[in-house]
């Protein structure tokens, strides 16, 4: 058992959310300790689609729609600072993104969602264009005849996930933060000076603790006086052989990485705990992608994998400062890539200041505890 001494700031979770917050804290002048699980942890950061995606997000929750847009606007600075500090280009491409509709019902539903977001945000949400099949085909000659139309949002984009994850870890290391793998946390005990954080490896004392442990936030948050209800939402991704660039945009159906591989997704399965891929689901995912881009049918799929999205009950992020232990904070969301600049440039300085301001306070999990009117 090791005693790691005392750290003013401890971030629990070394995925993209935790490391973005840790980098933000480090930029603001402190050196958080990052406690992480090992290589076999369920880790959305290693499975995700790496989209910076804004359109369609935040129906019924305008603060989230605006947070996504703010993040998209912060992304160029986030990427360039990371590159300046680490020399790693995360291959940010923000050329816009398409949502494809394969039926009129899908088209109507997607357009209605965007109109609702625009209304609810008083027109401050991201701009978008509704495109017919013909207009879509003028921009993307490769689309198939099953495409009824699409919605294009110029804020959308994507990054190289492996390099983003690597760059964030390199950036916190370069700023002198300690990172401990295989340091899963069993319990957190509030003390008069902060917290005792205990695992099979030993323990550490913390002044402030930030929970960024993905699904495990659900177990950890009550130890510091918060609720963080989450469910696993399984996604499955297919990846093709590398080929020459043909689709530089973002979309939820396909995304071609900067090195040429095409990711095809993205499914959701709420009730599965298995990390195994499901071949019949792969067939559905592939079929839909081929309906949008028929030429994909000639490509070989070289890998498939699954991952678990960290999904709050209403799908929107949870950010909260504990009332009973105000030096404890929690961050849980499924869009850790899109929102990474908010976590580094917005959330971290507010954690350092000791209080979550207007940008994050609407996202408390206390929204799930409102008594129902009868």
């Amino acid at each position: 058992m090791a005693y790691l001494g005392r750290s003013d700031y401890v971030v629990i979770g070394g995925g993209v959310v935790g490391v973005s917050i840790a980098w933000g804290l480090a930029r603001a002048g402190v050196k958080p300790l990052i406690l992480d699980e090992g290589d076999l942890a369920l880790r959305a950061s290693r499975a995700n689609f790496a989209l910076v995606f804004v359109q369609g997000k935040g129906v019924g929750f305008p603060d989230y729609a605006l947070a996504c847009m703010a993040a998209a606007e912060r992304w160029p600075q986030f990427a360039s600072e990371l590159e300046a500090e680490t020399g790693i280009d995360v291959a940010l491409r923000q050329m816009g993104g398409f949502s494809f509709a394969l039926s009129q019902a899908e088209m109507d539903q997607q357009r209605d969602a965007r109109e609702k977001i625009a209304r609810e945000t008083g027109g401050r949400s991201a701009n978008y264009e509704v495109l017919s099949y013909r207009e879509t085909r003028e921009r993307l000659p490769g689309i198939g005849p099953s495409v009824v139309g699409s919605i294009f949002c110029p804020k959308d984009g994507h990054v190289n996930m492996l390099r983003l994850f690597f760059a964030l870890h390199a950036a916190v290391a370069a700023r002198g933060c300690q990172y401990r793998a295989n340091h899963g946390v069993r319990t957190i005990e509030p003390t008069p000076e902060g917290f005792r954080i205990i695992g099979d490896w030993g323990e550490v004392q913390a002044g402030k603790v930030i929970l960024a442990a993905g699904i495990d936030n659900q177990r950890l948050a009550p130890m510091v006086g918060m609720a963080c209800p989450l469910k696993r939402d399984k996604g499955q991704v297919l990846v093709t052989e590398k080929c020459a660039p043909f689709f530089p945009y973002a979309s939820t159906v396909i995304c071609q990485g900067d090195e040429g591989g095409i990711k095809i997704g993205s499914s959701t399965e709420a009730l599965s705990d298995s990390i195994l891929t499901n071949q019949s689901l792969s067939a559905v995912i592939a079929k839909r992608a081929i309906q949008v881009f028929p030429q994909l049918a000639t490509l070989n799929v070289v890998r498939t994998w699954t991952g678990f999205r960290i999904m709050p009950p209403d799908g929107f992020p949870i950010y909260e400062q504990s009332r009973s232990a105000p030096s404890a904070f929690v961050a849980a969301c499924h869009s850790g890539v899109t929102l990474a600049p908010n976590h580094a440039f917005g959330l971290a300085p507010q954690i350092l200041a000791g209080r979550l301001g207007a940008e994050f306070s609407p996202f408390t999990a206390r929204r799930f505890c409102v008594p129902q009117a009868h």
Binding site: P141, G142, K242, C243, A244, E259, L299
Partner: protein, 101 residues
């Protein structure tokens, strides 16, 4: 660098970048090219460096070549056929941006 332990009983003719070569029936394209002394099968689609087979069992995707006009074929997973036209691959496979007729 490599040589055959057993003289082939039956040979097949194929070409690599236009050069006529022989293989034993049952040879993979990768094995036949290595036996013929080919070092660079392709140039990486990412960094442009020359590449050759690494695993010979379908995992590493370093042995990619163009076979009968189709790029990104794993040469360790394809048997040589009589008259096969094999080309080294330079850069990524290109897929047509248009709808197949």
């Amino acid at each position: 660098m490599f040589h055959k332990l057993i003289e082939p009983q039956e040979t097949l003719a194929f070409t690599f970048d236009g050069k006529p070569l022989k293989a034993a029936r049952g040879d993979s394209v990768a094995a036949a090219l290595l036996a013929a002394g080919v070092i660079a099968f392709r140039h990486s689609a990412v960094g442009g460096e020359p590449r050759a087979p690494y695993c010979m069992m379908g995992i590493c995707f370093d042995c990619l070549v163009t076979i009968d006009g189709i790029a990104n074929r794993q040469s360790c997973q394809v048997d040589v056929a009589e008259g096969m036209v094999v080309q080294s691959q330079h850069g990524p496979r290109v897929i047509d941006g248009r709808i197949p007729e």
